[in-house]
Structure formats: C-alpha cells, structure tokens
C-alpha cells in the first residue's frame, strides 16, 4: 500500500455532523481572550474548524463606532457562528441572549447553551440549563448544551432534543485536561447525538485523549488563545483531534502488565 491507498473513509472520518449539517472538522473553537481580531482569525483558520463560538454583549454607545467587528474577521459566510450564553446564570437570561443572537445572525438556529452556577467554578447550573433547553427547543433552536458530566442529566438533555451534549472535562479556562474519562465514557456510550468535550482542554494531548475516548468533537478557547503562540497551538489542536480520532477508530492495543518483546526471539545470534 502507498499513501494514496489509505482507507476511503479517511477524510469523512474527521467531519462532524450536528443537527443534520456536516462540518469539515471535529474541532470547535472560541473567539475570546485573543490579543486582537487578526490573531483570532489567524488561530481560527489554523485550527481548521468550521464552527466558531461568539458571545453577545451590549454595544458601547457613543464609543468607537468605527472599530472593526469580530464578525468582519470571522464572517458568517466562511464559518458557522455558534452564539453562546457565557455569563448567564439563569434560564431566562440565556433564552433572551440566544433570541437576540438569532436575530443578529439573521435567524440561524444553532446555538450553544451554557447556564453557569457560580463564578468560582463556572460549573453548569443544571436545573436552569434543563429549563432553558426546553424553552429554546420549543422556540425552534438547535441546542448544543454545555453540561455536567452526569450521565443521567445528559440523557435528559438528549431526550429533550438537544442536538449535541457537551460535558466539561474540567473547569472552563482551567486547562486541567480530561479529569473525568470514566464519566465521559458513560455519556459517550449512551448518547446518539454528538458528544463534544466543552471545557478543560489545556494542550494537544488533552484533545487527543478526549477523542480517543470516542468523543465526536472538542470545543476549546483558552487552550489556544492563551498559549504562548496561539497560531501554532491551533495547528497542534487540529492535528491532535485528528490523531485522537484516528487512534479511536484504529482501536488501541490491550494494556498488559507484562513486557512483550517487539522483536522475535527466534534466530537470535548467541
């Protein structure tokens, strides 16, 4: 076999399908915490992502009206814009935020719901998340939902009609990596819609571990934006997500406690 004869699925294996639409990459990236919009764009492009999260905030009235807009740098024609509800601590605020975002984006229904519990942990407030998800789905939104790694509540969200289940792997912005592989595995095993790790990835190996568990995608922001060289880290993440997916599809060797030589013993020169 040569390189051109790789399995036919090699490229489609790295796509992500959410709510009936297929995206080129299983990596989703946020746009917060960058030095400027140009760096944001460069990192987004380097990551190879098709889905970019943004947040919605009040315009500064009377100030800097000529300043460039984020969407000039990551235009909706080039990327799918995924509005989030970062900063919302109750269902009503989250629903209102996404209704505003939908209007801003000309009616597109895909959104990321996150209802936070407190400022220290940014852990999801699950009762409010469930309440908001129900309202949004009734209102026609395709809800990708940031949630705890509790398989019971993940199932409730899926049964309700959320289009992607997005548990945290560790705290938002912590870079602590995949602290809950067993809980994530339980969720992956039971869930029919995409499972996307939504928080906690710190470096490329974390993204690979998430994908090796069988996740359908990884969403990250700080790990790229706060790397010393965000553009290079975006490249690393692109490759790590692909590597992790390939490893998952390849199926790892069984772990064993005894050594097993890679070279045959037969014919050994003594």
């Amino acid at each position: 076999m040569n390189l051109n004869d790789l399995p036919a699925g090699a490229n489609t294996d790295h796509q992500l399908t959410v709510a009936g639409k297929t995206y080129a990459s299983k990596l989703l990236v946020g746009t917060g915490k960058y030095k400027d919009f140009q760096e944001t764009r460069d990192a987004v492009v380097a990551s190879g992502t098709g889905i970019v999260t943004v947040t919605v905030r009040r315009v500064n009235i009377g100030q800097h009206q000529d300043e460039p807009n984020l969407l000039d740098f990551v235009p909706p024609g080039e990327f799918t814009i995924l509005p989030n509800t970062g900063g919302c601590y109750n269902a009503a605020d989250a629903v209102y935020t996404l209704q505003m975002a939908r209007e801003m984006l000309g009616g597109h229904s895909l959104c990321k719901l996150e209802v936070l519990g407190d400022e220290k942990t940014l852990f999801p407030n699950m009762p409010e998340t469930l309440k908001a998800a129900e309202t949004l789905i009734k209102d026609g939104f395709d809800v990708m939902v940031y949630c705890s790694d509790d398989p019971i509540q993940a199932k409730m969200l899926e049964d309700m009609g959320c289009v992607a289940i997005m548990p945290l792997a560790s705290l938002i912005g912590s870079g602590m990596g995949i602290l809950n592989p067993w809980n994530l595995s339980l969720i992956i095993e039971q869930t029919q819609v995409p499972v996307i790790v939504d928080a906690g990835v710190g470096t490329a190996s974390d993204a690979a571990i998430a994908m090796e568990l069988g996740c359908d995608g990884v969403l990250m922001n700080t790990a790229i934006a706060k790397a010393r060289d965000p553009i290079r880290m975006a490249l690393a993440m692109r490759d790590a997500v692909r590597a992790g997916r390939n490893a998952y599809l390849a199926g790892r060797m069984p772990r064993r406690f005894a050594a097993s030589p890679s070279s045959p013993m037969a014919g050994l020169m003594t």
Binding site: G30, T31, G32, K33, Y34, F37, T40, T53, V54, T55, V56, R57, R58, V59, I61, G62, Q65, D66, N69, L70, L71, I81, P83, N84, G86, Y96, Q99, M100, A101, R102, E103, M104, L105, I172, G173, A199, L219, M220, N221, T222
Partner: protein, 69 residues
Amino acid sequence: MNAIQIELNGRPHPADATTTLADLVAKLGLAGKSLAISINREVIKRSDWPQRRIEAADRIEIVHAIGGG
C-alpha cells in the same frame, strides 16, 4: 419635537417620541452593523426597525457579537 427619556443599554438616554428604531440606530452611527435590538426584553426584528417608534421609559438594548467561548 417631543423629548422623552429612554434607557439605552442600561443608561438614561434622551430621545424624541417621533424616533423609530431605525432612526436611533442611524443616529448612533450603527447603521449597517451586525446587531440585535430589544425593547423591554422583546426582540425586535430588523425588518420592523423602520416602523417601530420609541416610547418614553422604553428599555432598549443594542447588542453585537464579541469574542467568547
């Protein structure tokens, strides 16, 4: 002129009772930008901005996209 007071993005703001949302957006230098507007937390569609008049004590929010995860 019929001067009224509204709340715009959380702050008091003078306006005119004949003003529409489209007028307000133009006056603020925000015409043509990617925005959403609500009055008293009700999202107002862009296509309704030219007809929708501002009333005294309206709480108006104008939002845009910024970087976030």
